[in-house]
């Protein structure tokens, strides 16, 4: 297996100039070449540094620093991605250091249209080639440098444990870093045969444990620097509400409160520390215009979803409500259904069944509730905006921060910290917690860390949608399912986002029905159908770890357990 990893001369020179002195080179690896013009500057931190590409640096102190294009949020890529590089590099595992990469196009995900994002359980498999190629490219250059030093051919060199060896001569990678930095990368690099792997596939202890058991690990909420203030924001008690007027005098009277500023999402109380900001927020008096969702409530939503589940097919059900019906409820009732799967004739299949069972499942809106409440720190300076956040979506954070501050995206520096859990909440189509924090820092004209309380986090939206499932299942004489009619009702997380075109086909959001439409329990049934209604409400919804399966696995496994043996639920 070989791969093309040849940097253009222009990239080489450009990057060398950026780094001053030519000891460091950086080029983009295959798949990311179209972003070459936006290559980030990689700063050498003392001593010579050999940076064969944007994904690793070899220091003259023998350190190998791996830059993560994805965010560590508990899933373990702080260890897994370095394993890929270390395998091909034959690195000394004890010398591996890890950093989150800055936000830059070169770190775009190979499977998310070049966006720098962590999601879809994709980090390891989607980077499996790219990170191994990065390691293999570095190794090839180090071997070449060693061959020149020893006066032998590269073929006479073997590598192990961070050293290049020829006969009884051995040299550490750190000693070769300078020389390797002056070489041109080969056009192709061989990758190891999987049978030769010594790191990949072997149990390996996490590299982030030491920091996380001593309190040293830096999460977003732990960011501190001189002059940093803390904000807590009062947001509308109802989704879509707006501030009509507010009185900040009692909030300003709280010791430690510095400023009270209005931002698009509400009123921010900016203080010396969290506690003062929170007390100040509690003391705000705000008159809200609650907007169209003023009377939105769970019981009526649940009932409206349940009524939609009565209807299969595309016809919009008739509204059975007696006026006056709130607009949000009317909108839900008018939702048209869409067919996700059609196989055979389900009506006939149900008619011919020895017995039919019917079941309804309802699951609620669900907050992600990452252990670390949402937060983001922003410092806006001359021609520069810095953002510190435990984030899953650097590309959008950067674009939005640029828009709000009037800067170019490359003038926005994103410092990704550890995430105290993400579960999808820290990547969303509006980067809400980052954009708001930029607004707060801008309005306050000061560096500010905006912190959400747990209550803010739970009330803050972007939930897994509530879903109602209704299934009619025809059982054969053997008691096994023979026909299956399944209707789902729940909000689409893709509608209205940049992913809609990719993920919503003929009115069916694939993530709403995954786990049902492709269920192994259904695929062999001659007669089955799956319908979906995707009502729109004022409640923001989002992917929530495992996405559609959060509700469909529960429903399908419950049905399989109860119907598989022919037992009634």
């Amino acid at each position: 297996m070989t791969t093309d990893a040849h940097p253009s001369r222009r990239d080489f020179l450009k990057t060398g100039a950026l780094l001053g002195g030519g000891l460091v080179i950086a080029f983009v690896v295959p798949g990311a070449r179209r972003f070459a013009g936006a290559q980030p500057a990689i700063r050498a931190r003392g001593g010579a540094m050999f940076a064969p590409n944007a994904f690793l640096r070899v220091g003259s102190d023998d350190s190998v620093t791996v830059l993560l294009a994805h965010s560590e949020m508990g899933q373990g890529i702080w260890t897994a991605l370095p394993m890929l590089i270390a395998e091909e590099l034959d690195a000394d595992w004890s010398k591996i250091k890890v950093e989150h990469a800055p936000a830059a196009p070169v770190y775009g995900s190979p499977v998310f249209a070049g966006m720098q994002i962590t999601g879809g359980s994709s980090s390891t498999w989607s980077e499996f080639d790219r990170y191994r190629q990065a390691g293999a490219t570095a190794r090839t250059l180090l071997v070449q440098a060693a061959a020149e030093r020893f006066g032998v051919t590269p073929a006479a060199i073997r590598t192990e444990n961070g050293a290049a060896i020829a006969g009884n001569q051995s040299v550490r990678y750190g000693e070769l870093a300078d020389a390797a930095a002056k070489l041109r990368a080969p056009k192709t690099v061989p990758l190891k045969d999987p049978k030769d792997w010594t790191i990949i596939g072997k149990p390996t202890r996490r590299l982030d444990t030491a920091e996380k058991i001593t309190g040293r690990a830096q999460f977003g909420i732990d960011v501190q620097f001189e002059g940093l203030l803390t904000a807590v924001v009062a947001r509308s008690p109802v989704f879509g509400g707006k501030v009509k007027s507010f009185d900040a005098s009692r909030a300003m009277a709280v010791p430690g409160v510095r400023k009270v500023v209005q931002v698009p999402t509400g009123i921010a109380v900016v203080a010396d520390h969290f506690w003062a900001a929170k007390l100040g927020r509690d003391a705000l008096e705000i008159d809200w215009d609650l907007g169209p969702n003023a009377n939105l409530e769970s019981t009526a939503l649940r009932e409206a979803f349940g009524r939609l589940a009565d209807f299969t097919g595309a016809a919009a059900p008739e509204t059975t409500e007696t006026p006056p019906v709130p607009p949000w409820l009317r909108d839900i009732a008018a939702t048209k259904g869409a067919a996700a799967v059609r196989a055979g004739n389900v009506a006939r299949g149900l008619d011919n069944a020895a017995k039919t069972v019917e079941a309804e499942y309802a699951v609620p809106y669900l907050a992600h509730a990452p252990m670390e409440p949402l937060n983001c720190t922003v410092r806006i300076g001359r021609g520069k905006c810095e953002v510190w956040a435990g984030t899953q979506f650097q590309t959008l954070d950067q674009q939005l921060a640029a828009g709000i501050t009037g800067l170019k995206p490359e003038q926005v520096e994103i410092h990704t910290t550890f995430l105290g859990g993400g579960f999808g909440r820290r990547a969303n189509p509006t980067s809400d917690f980052v954009a708001e924090a930029v607004q707060v820092a801008k309005a306050a004209a000061a560096p500010v860390k905006t912190v959400w309380t747990r209550e803010d986090d739970i009330r803050g939206g972007y939930y897994r949608s509530a879903f109602v499932h209704r299934a009619r299942i025809g059982l054969g004489a053997d008691g096994k399912p023979a026909a299956w009619q399944h209707t789902l009702v729940g909000q689409s997380i893709m509608a209205g986002t940049m992913m809609e075109a990719m993920m919503v086909k003929d009115g069916v959001d694939a993530t709403s029905v995954e786990g049902v439409s492709d269920s192994p329990y259904l695929k062999d049934l001659p007669n089955h159908r799956v319908d979906l209604h995707s009502p729109q409400t004022g409640i923001p919804v989002l992917w929530w770890r495992s996405v559609g399966h959060t509700h469909t696995a529960f429903v399908m496994e419950s049905r399989a357990a109860s119907d598989g043996g022919g037992a009634r639920p």
């Binding site: 996380k212 001593t214 040293r216 909420i221 969290f274 990452p370 252990m371 409440p373 747990r454």
Partner: protein
């Protein structure tokens, strides 16, 4: 007001009803103790007061006067405390956000009961939520820490 934190006396300028959590994090700069809920329901903010576990998010600093406060940073300089070593051996952490609190609760349990049963562990740590779900490894690591602890001077 004076606080005794990890064996050092610190002068802090804060109102007596300010929660210890925010004094530690925002005034003293010890950010290892975490904010998770603010209402003593998640355990992320657990510290020790004279050796006993305590939810710092609902403890006014006035209640800590004259007492010894220990935070995760005060457990060991280098992760060598038996509980930390057990956590390392068993790769307990995931995102890690809850783990300061988990470890502080585990240390307090072992100080009170040197060979805890599963039930003891579940009871002592039930107030510490882990959103990543590391509970099985936490329980195994507490048993391992009990062994490591026996092999050295009791801390």
């Amino acid at each position: 007001m004076q606080l005794n934190i990890n064996g050092t006396t610190r002068d802090v300028d804060a109102p007596p009803d300010m929660p210890l959590l925010w004094v530690l994090r925002d005034l003293v700069g010890l950010t290892g103790t975490k904010f998770g809920c603010g209402i003593a329901q998640c355990g992320a903010c657990t510290v020790h007061l004279d050796g006993a576990p305590l939810r710092s998010c609902v403890t006014p600093i006035s209640a800590t006067a004259g007492k010894a406060i220990t935070t995760i940073e005060g457990l060991s300089a280098d992760g060598s405390h038996p509980v930390q070593r057990a956590w390392t051996e068993l790769d307990v952490v995931q995102c890690g956000y809850c783990q300061s609190g988990q470890i502080m609760s585990a240390v307090a349990l072992l100080a009170a009961k040197s060979e805890p049963s599963d039930a003891d562990i579940d009871a002592a740590l039930s107030g510490n939520i882990c959103r990543c779900g590391t509970y099985q490894r936490i329980r195994a690591a507490v048993h391992r820490a009990a062994e490591l602890r026996q092999g050295q001077e009791v801390t």
